[in-house]
Symmetry: C2
Subunit: 432 residues, 2 copies
């Protein structure tokens, strides 16, 4: 891995380079995506099936688009029972963590008859996009389904592109069953996003769409934002390891590689104050590379978006961490919790030498759907909050309203909204 | 107002008609908006000032784009001191309500050294768009600023289009001061959204943009979503009054009119089980119209998007309420809290005869920035949650990691991610 001295200039260069991975770089695909969405909106199933035949090479009909109970059964039978047990244990941990995110509706009352509150209700229908092909991850199914389940969403609709044999990945089916979902449609790509946003004869319109996908899926999601809700726009995976001289270089190298293997756009960055560590990590990366199955992919992603950044001191290092706002951040320093207090922007923070990032991918419980590409500055990990909505509650007594009637009318008059003022006045006029 | 019998057909017609008000109907403006955004991105201030001259007829320079302390002072002096006191009282109520939304970071620990948690931190920089002209509402300034302040956002940047005299509305300045903001730029429209999203020489790039605006502002916000965070896409205002025979027709009529006066696209709908009430409300609306200052506007919006819907029974009425998912919902029935339990989708719910909607616009405390156009099915009122982000915290001891090492590796192998498995294995290998 290349080693770069951290300066304001190199920091800026690296940030610019990372942004090349943004979905905003793919504006030229937008016409294609818009055409697909428009077709789905106008022609429903007909267009949906035509695009599935074109892109996935599978012919669907109203009768075959949905995964049947028999297909579900057969798929799950193909999965190693040991793996099913692992899946179950992971699901338990994920459920446990997300249960802690559940929030209650609340009200506050005053003796003069004022009631104010915030009511929390689950979304009614959610669509979950699950990628197919090399990116078919059962863990991702659990991470999307369980928070929805915990939030109380009644109907979750899953879409996932079929393989060339017209079937859905068995592990994905097993994870769906673990997450309590049986409504699964064999469609993917921008056309599946369109179907969930607008509804077709076969596929119900949903209120919100979550789940990662390729660039067409990401662009289609952005195009329907506002028409439905979204989780966030997923980008390529990222890891940033912030380490001082106390870190084990072999662990750091292994963790950097674990993200670099995701795809060619993945990013793996070490920020360290220790020149010795920098050198050792670089060497360990080379050693591991010889043994890993996705070597080519990893080499490409390291070449494109892998850096070892040498910082003069921890303050500069943390500033860089905050500017990069990585999806995954490992803090491997003498006192990781203290360093964490300085971190402003990161999706998930892993503290100490035994908190390796893959722990968070599968098992610990926190969600692995995390903000990427600098969006940890404003987006959050997927969670129960993504599957609820709030309504304000307001109830006043006559007495309480009378007490502030003049103030409200003054405000309304100042904004020249006389019908607003009238709606208060009418309640205190003399009976006619 | 026209009275329509509620049937599945009329319900569908009305829903279709309301959606005509969606920003998605304005795709043809998108090219203009994209061009403006592109110009701002490439040319910064130069383009920003050129568009301000073109659209707002004001010449700006780096020296004059920002509101000076003197301009702030002068503006506030022009505002009636009585109104300043009303503003202060409203701000106190809004602050009080939003304080209750504040959430704490949390952790959970296990004796084997597992620490999991969720850390909440404020966004660093937020941009607030404040409309100018006829839609310059000081209440809106408070409703956006106070939750940001309560959340702990350090830097709030406000943009608002200048009047033809190059100045900012004095009430808006007074509200900004009340909300603790002094960084105000005299720019508006899509160009201001571009400046906040990309940054220019004069205007800092922010992490999130909130605040309502015209159609160009709404489309520009949607175009930069993902590059920055957004509150929601604001549409025209709406009120839905759900009433039975116990409701006062004069109050209901006054409340319907209070939203209809906002603009020609505003929607005011009464859903009732009582034919008598339907008739009386219709008559009262006509009577009030003769006295209200925005009569023409109101007549247009009632003609376009005003309905009295007669339902056979309360269950059908509530179903329609849930399908429409109104921004504001008043429940004026014999037992409004019981009816409320059936409501799934609404931005703010006003219960009982003395909870008129304008109470929520200014004074009660809950936010008046609410989901419109059916988006209450997935969006929520603006609040403290919009100005924070979450990070997951994960820390494992060696012992705890060892306990699940096999499971994680099994999961990683199932997903064919060997570098993921390696990152766990390396921590338990024999020392070399």
């Amino acid at each position: 891995m290349r080693t770069v001295k951290l300066t304001p200039e190199t920091r800026k260069e690296i940030l610019t380079s990372l942004l090349k991975r943004s979905t905003f770089q793919y504006g030229s695909y937008m016409d294609t995506v818009n055409r697909i969405l428009e077709d789905i909106r106008e022609k429903g199933d007909e267009a949906l099936f035509a695009y599935t035949e074109k892109f996935d090479h599978v012919k669907l009909t109203k009768e075959t688009v949905r995964v049947t109970p028999e297909e579900m059964e057969e798929g799950c039978r193909q999965v190693d029972p040991d793996f099913l047990r692992v899946l179950r244990r992971a699901a338990d941990n994920i459920r446990d963590y997300h249960q802690r995110q559940v929030r209650e509706s609340w009200i506050t009352t005053r003796e003069d008859g004022v009631i104010l509150g915030q009511r929390i209700t689950p979304l009614e229908r959610v669509g979950l996009y699950v990628p197919g092909g090399k990116a078919a991850y059962p863990s991702s199914v659990l991470m999307n389904l369980i928070p929805a389940q915990v939030a109380g969403v009644k109907r979750v609709v899953m879409v996932t592109p079929p393989g060339k044999d017209g079937r859905v990945n068995p592990q994905v089916l097993a994870a769906a069953r673990e997450g309590g979902v049986t409504e699964i449609y064999k469609v993917g790509g921008a056309q599946a996003i369109g179907a969930l946003a607008y509804g077709t004869e076969s596929i119900p319109k949903v209120n919100k769409i979550t789940g990662p996908g390729n660039i067409y899926v990401a662009l289609a999601k952005r195009a329907v934002f506002g028409y439905v809700g979204l989780d966030s726009i997923a980008g390529p995976s990222e890891i940033l390891v912030l380490a001082d001289e106390t870190a084990n270089p072999r662990y750091a190298a292994a963790d950097l590689l674990s993200q670099a293997e995701h795809d060619e756009l993945a990013s793996a960055i070490l920020v360290t104050t220790s020149p010795e560590l920098a050198e050792q990590v670089s060497r360990q990366v080379d050693r591991f590379l010889e043994t890993l199955s996705r070597r080519e992919m990893i080499e490409k992603s390291l070449e494109n978006f892998g850096y070892i950044l040498l910082a003069d001191n921890m303050a500069d290092a943390v500033d860089a961490v905050n500017a990069i706002a990585s999806e995954h951040l490992e803090i491997v320093t003498r006192d990781p919790f203290q360093v964490m207090t300085q971190v402003k922007n990161a999706g998930a923070i892993f503290l100490g030498p035994y908190s390796s990032e893959p722990l968070g991918d599968y098992f610990a419980g926190p969600n692995h759907v995390l903000p990427t590409n600098g969006t940890a500055k404003f987006f959050s990990p997927l969670g129960v909050d993504d599957f609820i909505k709030k309504s304000s509650l307001i109830s006043y007594s006559r007495e309480a309203l009378q007490g502030i009637a003049e103030d409200i009318q003054a405000f309304a008059q100042a904004e020249q909204l006389t019908a607003h003022a009238n709606s208060i006045a009418v309640r205190f006029e003399e009976e006619e």
